[in-house]
């Protein structure tokens, strides 16, 4: 369910930030991961590992067949990636 996913991901981000005494007032779909929330690549990697432990999925583990990489600029991008990964498989796909 999207609302819970949003909260889970936001919680993971806040936990990573608090490790270094940082915090974020607002985490919205348009919040820039780096620019607004101050997450560097290590912070992001840590967040993804934490989310794998709580959600059981890692949307970034395998690249899609078309070689594209999911866009990871905003919090909304991050949530979308998890929505896709956590969704049940499409029965109409081969």
């Amino acid at each position: 369910m999207p609302a819970n996913l949003h909260d889970t991901i936001a919680t993971a981000i806040r936990s990573v930030l608090s490790d270094t005494g940082r915090s974020a007032d607002v985490i919205g779909a348009e919040s820039l991961l780096s620019g607004d929330l101050g997450l560097d690549s290590l912070d992001l990697a840590q967040t993804i590992v934490l989310l794998e432990r709580s959600l059981g999925v890692d949307p970034f583990r395998t690249r899609p067949a078309d070689g594209s990489r999911p866009s990871l600029r905003t919090f909304g991008d991050l949530c979308s990636a998890y929505e896709v990964a956590a969704a049940p498989p499409d029965p109409h796909q081969p």
Partner: protein, 462 residues
């Protein structure tokens, strides 16, 4: 006859005569273990050779007389069956000792495979499996290919501990197996703790050393620190060979009151790098014990032994051959190379060293390196920093896979009693950020009851 002891007994015994020991040490190398058992049994048949299940209320003691009797029986069977090789499938160390002594004197190749040893491959298909009963089934013997009593001493196959890859089986000469045994009188009739697996190189060195010198091998019922501590006290263990990881666990988790009554005389560390803080902790807990650490690999055997109580080894050891003739070299990236003798090639050990002052200290294995976003992190260094945080009893640094950075540094932490995980966690992160570069700071912290160790008593890194 096996004797179950109801109360703690002393393993100390009258000294063996010089003549008896001379007979052992002068015997051909492949006869030596068997000669030791027989000679000592003649002089002192009730002297305890092995104590199993130590550290509990019901230890079991086996004396030299028993070992010698089983040896006679087994050698007879081997002589009749003449198998082309034997695979040791024993669980009890006393059986393994007798089997090894018998095979070596009878010139039968022997494979000692630890339980997780890789598939031995077809070359051992025709070999005979012998278990704790030490009996060769009549029918099996009859159907097996028969070997000759080779005039050349046979080889012995031992599985490596597999920290640098899956376990593999390495063949050794009896000479190399016995080469590191210390035979001078100061080593006679001591009591040795065996926490290593009796079927791996480190464990084999302990029981070979003990048997050749009329000593006693004490096997604790488990590696639980309290059981180990109790075994040391109950059996008056005088020599403690251990990995730094097992030593740390003993120091941090066993009852300090029990540790204070241990009468250890010697502590020998090996298998992993030793650091200054550990040596200091050992000196504090066992002030009367001499501490040495051994640098050895299954392929090379023992390369050197450091007895000065400091970590690493003196830098000047690189300038000339070691007492045994081996030479040490370092590569520019810090890897230690060993050349055992003039006519052998330099062997890359996979261990990295760093010069600090007039010593070289071990930084960790090259294969342990964690690569975070392209930057290298050595887990041993991070562990040293983490262990300096109040409230952390034990720590293990390892890697976790990460899609963005390749790997991340993770740490498993055992919290000391009386400290809260939350406080310890924030204290640790603050300290690490202060002492380490940001990519080396552990990002994933897990609190555990006990640090995971490999069967060999070392810390895994993956």
């Amino acid at each position: 006859m096996n004797v179950t002891l109801a109360a703690a007994g002393s393993a100390s015994s009258p000294a063996l005569s010089d003549a008896a020991m001379r007979r052992v040490f002068d015997s051909p190398v492949e006869d030596r273990l068997a000669t030791a058992l027989t000679t000592i049994a003649e002089a002192a048949p009730t002297r305890t050779a092995v104590v199993r299940n130590a550290g509990t209320d019901k230890p079991t003691a086996i004396d030299y007389g028993t070992l010698a009797a089983r040896l006679v029986d087994l050698e007879q069977q081997l002589d009749e069956a003449r198998p082309i090789g034997v695979v040791a499938r024993t669980d009890q160390v006393e059986s393994l000792i007798v089997l090894t002594a018998a095979c070596s004197r009878q010139h039968v190749p022997l494979a000692i495979l630890a339980d997780d040893a890789a598939d031995s491959g077809h070359e051992l298909d025709d070999w005979l499996s012998v278990d704790d009963t030490l009996s060769i089934p009549f029918t099996a013997a009859g159907s097996m290919p028969r070997g000759e009593f080779a005039t050349v001493a046979p080889t012995i196959w031992v599985a490596t501990s597999g920290t640098s890859g899956p376990p593999k089986i390495v063949d050794h000469s009896w000479e190399s197996l016995l080469a590191a045994a210390r035979l001078s009188s100061q080593w006679h009739s001591l009591t040795w703790l065996l926490v290593y697996d009796a079927k791996r190189w480190a464990g084999i060195q302990v029981w070979v050393q003990a048997m050749l010198t009329g000593g006693c091998v004490v096997v604790p019922a488990s590696r639980d620190p309290d059981v180990v501590a109790r075994a040391v006290v109950d059996r008056q263990v005088t020599v403690l060979p251990a990995t730094p990881t097992l030593m740390r666990r003993l120091l941090t988790s066993a009852d300090p009151a029990v540790l204070a009554t241990c009468q250890l005389e010697r502590i020998t560390l090996g298998g992993e790098a030793v650091d200054g803080p550990l040596l200091d902790q050992i000196k504090e807990t066992f002030p009367n014990a001499g501490v040495s650490h051994v640098y050895a690999t299954t392929e090379l055997g023992e390369v050197f032994r450091v007895r000065d109580g400091l970590p690493g080894f003196p830098a000047h050891w690189l300038t000339k051959p070691l007492p045994g003739g081996a030479r040490l070299f370092t590569r520019r990236d810090g890897e230690l190379l060993v050349q055992l003798s003039r006519d052998t090639a330099e062997v890359a050990t996979g261990d990295l060293v760093e010069q600090r002052g007039d010593r070289f200290e071990f930084v960790g294995r090259r294969s342990d390196v964690i690569v975070v976003g392209g930057a290298k992190v050595y887990p041993k260094r991070v562990e040293e920093v983490v262990r300096g945080v109040p409230g952390i009893a034990e720590a293990r640094v390892h890697s976790v896979a990460s899609p963005i950075t390749g790997e991340l540094v993770a740490v498993d932490v055992v919290v000391s009693p009386g400290f809260s995980p939350d406080d310890v966690r924030s204290g640790m992160l603050t300290h690490c950020r202060h002492e380490l570069e940001s990519h080396a700071v552990p990002r994933i912290v897990t609190f555990v009851e006990q640090i995971a160790t490999t069967p060999a008593g070392k810390v895994p890194r993956r």
